[in-house]
Symmetry: C2
Subunit: 186 residues, 2 copies
Amino acid sequence: MTDTRAYHHGDLRRALLAAALEAVAEVGPAALSLRDLARRAGVSHAAPAHHFGDKAGLLTALAAQGFDLLARTLTEADDDLLEAGVAYVDFAVTHRAYFEVMFRPELYRADDAELIAARGRAGAALRSGVAALSGGGAPADTDRDSLAAWSIAHGFATLWLAGALPDRVGDNPREAARAVLRRLST
Amino acid sequence: MTDTRAYHHGDLRRALLAAALEAVAEVGPAALSLRDLARRAGVSHAAPAHHFGDKAGLLTALAAQGFDLLARTLTEADDDLLEAGVAYVDFAVTHRAYFEVMFRPELYRADDAELIAARGRAGAALRSGVAALSGGGAPADTDRDSLAAWSIAHGFATLWLAGALPDRVGDNPREAARAVLRRLST
DNA sequence: CGTGAAACTTGCCAGTGACAAGATTGCGCG
DNA sequence: CGCGCAATCTTGTCACTGGCAAGTTTCACG
């Protein structure tokens, strides 16, 4: 337990990102306060700016981490498209804070190199899953299929997080998602 | 042209909502500033509070208007499920400001009566469209089908708005949506 | 006409993001 | 070993925001 010393926190960047993840989960990405993060990490109110420049910089780092994690998650379930979709929804629910930042590009620097790379990896994982399933169809078909698969998984996840779905869908996101996602593959 | 007079604007509530719609389109719902709205309407910084209580109150009114508009839009294309889906996506793109507020319940009062009513109307329009198409199936099937249809349309719309879709989908949302939504009905 | 309520204003406070300038520390290089 | 320099962090400040309180103006209705 390396507790907080004066000056040279040692791992401030990571500590701030961890605090940011908590804070986003509590109040959402837009209401995030840099000064609150600083308090949580036990540093002064201007310390975060040194590591991330500004709020957008911090959220950019968070989004990149999120896309990276999503890419790894999707790669694991790559052989089964239905399970990849379920994994996508599960990711959104389990790592809600990441997910909420990732798809709100107006809050971060969408032209960040590291972020673009991580997002590309996630997209590739998705597309390869679709290609594996649809077999040797034309690339244009794969394009449309992956767009459809992504749309339905993303839509369900988003609606779930927004609490917009009717009560009858239950409280088990994986199960509910599986039932809905199945509609695509028939 | 009833220009702004001192005291008793006459139609401040409506003027503020209109200004809010513009402002949301420009900076997003989270970055909305009540004081900016007041300036746009030519009133003092505390005038909005009188009509809406606080920021959440104003966004509640906006969201309710949005759900009402969506319900009417969906009702028009009710007989054709595919076209209803296209209309949903089109609504999101055309009335982006409404759409972005509607599905961010943490920003407004989700228990508002008027809002719940409007949202119910939109949901009913969606469900009736699905029921009409799937014919005399079991209600449980209709449930799942409408969830799937809603998910794919909502997902595509959300991804489109977030700028997350690859460039190859083009710049015509209706056309692109139609291609993707077709995957569901086959 | 006049009175009470509705609509709007001015004034204030705590909190926030961003910036500037200063203090402290550790690391590399002689 | 020690010294200078750059990275890290702090303190101080400014403009802006949301929300509240109290005062002012206007309208509606008896």
